[in-house]
């Protein structure tokens, strides 16, 4: 039989512990341990310590009076973000997040309304606003086209029917310009630019005649075209249109910015 040690007996004396039942059974069966336990109880019970002196009712007051001058008053409690409690902090964070979300959607809505208002003021159709770059590209093409057309007309004006070297490139250039001229003319009509459309119409007629000539230009044909060109003042008109290009560019920019022409 294993005897109980002093530690086990002391724990049993004070707290009875988890194994109190087992110890009690052992003590009933083991005389030696029972004797040791009785001696321990006797020793501990005999330890009589002096009772603490009784303090009168004014003792607490005296203690307070002695320490009160040493204590600075607390400032009104400032609760920090964390100290105020997690829920308070979370509620602040949620409020901030809600504010940001509201501001975001309000901004988007305001932006959308601004765009709608602008579209309402502009008399030009919306698709033109939606795609300003093509307009500017057309302007650039028109400028180039008129430039090339002017050179062609100048060369045509001074062309000599006897010189095949001079006439043949005119025909090739006319064929090249013909397609571009039709695009520019179509665009001018869409823009309701009557003057440009009419001029390009006449240019188209001239270019077509020049391009469709199967063989080399004979003197009569060349003279007729030169006469026709001079009669309707096509070269002068092309030059005038060229001079208008900067204005058209400005107008195109203004249109792309939502202004009016």
């Amino acid at each position: 039989m294993k005897h109980l040690n002093e530690e086990e007996l002391i724990e049993y004396f004070y707290s009875k512990g988890k194994s109190a039942a087992a110890i009690e059974r052992h003590l009933e069966a083991c005389a030696e341990c029972a004797k040791a336990c009785a001696a321990l109880k006797s020793d501990l019970k005999e330890m009589e310590f002096a009772e603490a002196p009784v303090r009168d009712d004014a003792y607490g007051e005296r203690v307070w009076r002695s320490i009160a001058p040493l204590l600075p008053a607390y400032q009104a409690r400032k609760r920090s973000w964390l100290r105020g409690g997690v829920w308070r902090g979370l509620s602040y964070a949620a409020a901030c997040a809600l504010l940001v979300i509201c501001a975001f959607f309000a901004g988007r809505r305001w932006e959308h309304r601004q765009a709608s208002t602008s579209a309402g003021i502009t008399p030009a159709p919306a698709p033109q606003h939606a795609a300003p770059p093509p307009q500017r590209v057309v302007v650039v093409v028109l400028s180039d086209h008129l430039d090339r057309s002017e050179r062609l007309l100048v060369e045509l004006k001074h062309a000599d029917a006897d010189s095949e070297e001079m006439v043949s490139p005119l025909r090739d250039e006319a064929r090249s310009l013909l397609a571009a001229n039709r695009i520019c003319r179509q665009n001018a009509r869409q823009d309701d630019d009557t003057a440009l459309a009419t001029a390009l119409d006449r240019l188209d007629h001239l270019l077509a005649e020049l391009a469709d000539e199967p063989g080399s230009l004979d003197a009569a044909k060349l003279a007729r075209l030169q006469s026709e060109m001079s009669a309707n003042g096509l070269l002068f008109e092309v030059r005038v249109l060229r001079s208008r290009i900067p204005d058209r560019q400005q107008a195109g920019i203004a249109r792309s910015n939502g202004g009016t022409i």
Binding site: E6, A52, E61, S66, A73, A76, R77
Partner: protein, 193 residues
């Protein structure tokens, strides 16, 4: 008890809001109980009174860290135990630095084993109490405090550990060592009786 806890918490809130005088109600309410445990640990009335004041001062400075779900009486009790423990340690250090009759264990033992002093005489002269006090003084500060809290204050192992700031097993061992030492010291008296 619940009502008193609520009153304590209300007073603490008032103190933290700037009403210093409300701390006075807490001091008045808990001074006596702190004095008792301080006296049992220090064994000295003057020291116990100093411990009470020091405990309330420390408590006031730490009051903004007091967890509202805790019990103020338990909290301030632990502070008082720590203060008392510190005082006993300091006193032991002071005593170790000087050579005195009471501090000499050998001398204590000689006094107990004095054959001229029979049990009846010891009992009559109140020297049993003196022997017990001498035996208590032979304990370390931790052992003495743990024993007082266990044997006199009837605190659990967990409460002792929390009050001393040590592990529960260390608190249990401190109580065991204290009991063993006390029994050893007081064994001559038992034989004589």
């Amino acid at each position: 008890m619940v009502r008193m806890d609520q009153n304590d918490h209300a007073a603490i809130q008032a103190v933290l809001s700037g009403d210093k005088e409300m701390y006075g109600t807490l001091v008045v309410r808990h001074s006596a109980s702190l004095f008792r445990v301080a006296f049992r640990i220090t064994g000295n009335e003057a020291d116990a009174e100093d411990v009470v004041q020091e405990a309330f001062l420390r408590g006031y400075r730490k009051l903004d860290g007091f967890e509202s779900r805790s019990d103020f009486s338990t909290w301030i009790y632990r502070i008082a135990v720590r203060c008392a423990l510190d005082r006993v340690k300091r006193r032991n250090l002071d005593r170790a630095g000087t050579v005195g009759e009471e501090s000499d264990p050998e001398q204590d033992e000689v006094q107990v084993a004095d054959g001229c002093a029979g049990p009846d005489r010891l009992l009559l002269s109140g020297e049993i109490g003196a022997m017990q006090q001498a035996a208590m003084r032979s304990l370390t500060a931790i052992e003495r405090t743990a024993f007082v809290l266990r044997h006199i204050e009837d605190r659990s192992g967990e409460e002792i550990a929390a009050a001393l700031g040590i592990q529960p097993n260390a608190a249990k061992q401190a109580v065991f060592r204290a009991v063993q030492k006390l029994r050893l010291r007081l064994a001559p008296l038992r034989v004589s009786i």
